[in-house]
């Protein structure tokens, strides 16, 4: 069935809430209003205010209460309205939820999902547009998911809800309205930690995820017209990472381009580059590993500036061509 990324997310939540009464949704304006981006529209009507809970504007306790509810037997889905505001909830996420199991010697489990939208492109400027997934990937105990298609969004969110660990489920604002085929089956699950080769190719590997993925696929299509055969790997889950899929692809193509929206310095594609550079794929690399990422600046308001800070399709295409033709 064709549907939007947004509706696929809702479908996953609705199915899981029907299936398991321990699952519930909480967050700012998720109820009657249906969420700042309309993701949960209609859920309040179906499940009522007990299971679709509007909270005060209090991010720290949203995440903290989700943790406390999870460790005592619920399976909360907590929404933080913008990823930028996870800054207010970091203690709850990082020091509490992520570490509880380990600190307690394995005697606790914290099955919670924290949904939050990341990314620029909506004209909301520096405090509403960040891509901070790299932070969470640096925290043992958390799993981190960034779906790029409606299908992945549904399958991965269902897996996240059923997972017994805290999962950061990072949605992409600018993908909410994009459409795609989504399986309707209730038991359609995409296991966390499995990447997907979104396009097969032999000349170069591109690893990308989230908002940048459609651009990469477009660029790959155009590259094909120029006789360049691009393989596109979408890890989908950043932690745990499907290292094998990436390493195997690089061994096959000998070239690696990494693309993400987050600012370059310290971004997660740096981790992937480092992982490859220390793997057996190193010896197969015939040229430097290239990263295309956000400029190292806060997100500006002006639409042209805002567009200029993230890799464009042209830039990706250009880089692909240069890398394959070995121009530097």
């Amino acid at each position: 069935m064709e549907m939007t990324y947004k509706d696929a997310i809702k479908m996953a939540m609705v199915e899981e809430m029907r299936r398991d009464e321990d699952v519930f949704l909480m967050g700012e304006d998720v109820g009657l209003y249906g969420g700042a981006f309309g993701v949960s529209v209609g859920m309040f009507e179906e499940f009522g205010e007990d299971r679709v809970r509007d909270t005060p504007i209090s991010e720290a306790v949203i995440a903290g209460a989700a943790c406390g509810a999870a460790v005592t037997g619920m399976r909360p889905i907590a929404e933080i309205m913008f990823m930028d505001f996870t800054t207010i909830a970091m203690d709850s996420i990082v020091n509490q939820a992520a570490k509880m199991r380990y600190m307690f010697g394995g005697k606790a489990k914290v099955p919670m999902v924290l949904r939050t939208p990341g990314g620029s492109g909506t004209g909301a400027a520096a405090q509403h547009s960040q891509s901070l997934e790299a932070w969470f990937c640096h925290v043992p105990g958390l799993k981190v998911v960034v779906p790029a298609t409606p299908k992945d969004a549904k399958g991965l969110l269902k897996a996240a809800i059923r997972d017994d660990n805290p999962v950061m489920f990072i949605e992409q604002k600018t993908l909410y309205k994009t459409k795609g085929e989504v399986p309707e089956e209730d038991d359609f699950i995409i296991p966390l930690g499995k990447g997907e080769i979104k396009r097969e190719g032999k000349d170069i590997t591109v690893v990308s995820y989230g908002r940048m993925l459609p651009r990469v696929l477009e660029a790959a299509k155009k590259a094909a017209e120029k006789g360049i055969d691009v393989e596109v790997v979408d890890p989908r889950t950043l932690v745990p990472l499907d290292k094998e899929m990436i390493v195997e692809s690089v061994k096959k193509t000998g070239k690696l381009l990494l693309v993400n929206e987050a600012v370059k310095t310290g971004g997660y594609i740096g981790e992937i580059a480092a992982m490859v550079a220390e793997s057996e794929a190193f010896d197969y690399l015939d040229s430097p590993i290239v990263r295309l990422a956000g400029l190292d600046v806060p997100v500006p308001y002006n639409p042209e500036l805002e567009a200029a800070i993230v890799p464009s399709e042209e830039k990706i295409l250009d880089t692909l061509i240069k890398m394959v033709r070995k121009e530097r």
């Binding site: 700012e28 304006d29 504007i57 004209g123 400027a125 405090q127 002006n302 500036l305």
Partner: protein, 320 residues
């Protein structure tokens, strides 16, 4: 600053109208997709913001919010640069990098709107610390909403400001909603001013739709703060007429409720008062209305005729 009450009230009316017309214009632009991003309009709250700001000295300091147009206009701002910023122009206050949620003019004591609810609490507290340590005699007015008063930053800031006895007014514009959530679903108390007790400071409730009253009461309160009595919490009861932001179907409130507040429109109330008190005539008031309306049109021209920021500027000003 003003030679007479009349001058003061003329300026107050001018700023309230600037705010109203500015936002009506912005709303029009957004509705037509002529502006990028989103905005939070304060139509209905002009008396609360302008009345409070005008009780400050020009060199006092404010921190503003996502719903900050009336606040920064109340403080006194170059409307051209503000409109230019909304349109993302290089001549704007932030050179097109900030937009509606980040209008700032640090040199004249406007430390900026904030995209983070509660994000200004700590900044305002630190600004007040500077005034105390440097003994400048200035005070800080920290704007925030009813919803923001549920953020942890509210608690930490008021407590610290109280312990350090800082010259700061925490000014809560309670418009009854935090986005879609009504106050009574976000807190279990009627008056946010009651939260002052947690910090051993004074709490005040004022009618935020009566600019004259706001100004008088705030003048008194600010005097106390300036003279070293420490921070206060003021709750200004008011209402926003429009949706929370660009796209809001307002399912969470009734038309009747909105209309009942419109009957207490701050501009109307002010106008009537001026006439009743024989301070200004209808003609004088309407002249101000016409002038400010024109100012806004001029600001639009200014903004439209301004350049976009050069693409290379995108990497400017990350570091000093």
């Amino acid at each position: 600053m003003f030679n007479s009450k009349k001058e003061l009230y003329q300026e107050m009316y001018r700023r309230m109208n600037q705010a109203r017309f500015f936002e009506e214009k912005v709303s029009y632009f957004f509705a037509r997709g002529m502006v990028h991003g989103t905005t939070h309009l304060s139509v209905g709250q002009e008396a609360s913001s302008v009345g409070a700001c005008m009780a400050l000295r020009p060199d006092d300091i404010i921190t503003s919010t996502h719903r900050g147009h009336s606040q920064v206009i109340g403080k006194g701002i170059d409307i051209n640069k503000m409109m230019a910023e909304l349109l993302g122009k290089y001549t704007g206050y932030c050179k097109g990098k900030g937009g509606s949620m980040h209008i700032a003019d640090v040199e004249v004591g406007n430390l900026g709107a904030n995209g983070v609810v509660g994000g200004g609490h700590g900044i305002a507290t630190g600004a007040a610390l500077t005034q105390k340590m440097k003994n400048t005699g200035k005070v800080v007015l920290c704007f925030f909403g009813d919803g923001a008063s549920n953020e942890g930053s509210f608690h930490e800031a008021l407590n610290l400001a109280s312990v350090w006895n800082l010259p700061i007014i925490f000014y809560c514009e309670n418009n009854l909603y935090g986005m879609s959530v009504p106050q009574d679903k976000a807190m279990n108390i009627k008056d946010i001013a009651d939260r002052a007790k947690s910090y051993g400071i004074k709490g005040y409730i004022i009618d935020g739709n009566d600019a004259v009253g706001v100004h008088e009461k705030m003048s008194e309160i600010i005097d106390g703060v300036r003279s070293g009595n420490g921070p206060v919490l003021v709750e200004s009861k008011t209402y926003r007429y429009l949706g929370h932001s660009k796209s809001d179907a307002q399912v969470y409130r009734t038309k009747e409720e909105v209309n009942s507040w419109k009957e207490r429109d701050p501009l109307k109330i002010f106008k009537n008062k001026m006439v009743d008190m024989n301070i200004m005539t209808i003609d004088e008031l309407e002249k101000i209305e016409r002038e400010t309306k024109q100012e806004i049109e001029d600001a639009v021209d200014f903004a439209n005729n301004s350049e976009n920021p050069p693409i290379e500027s995108v990497t400017d000003d990350v570091y000093a």
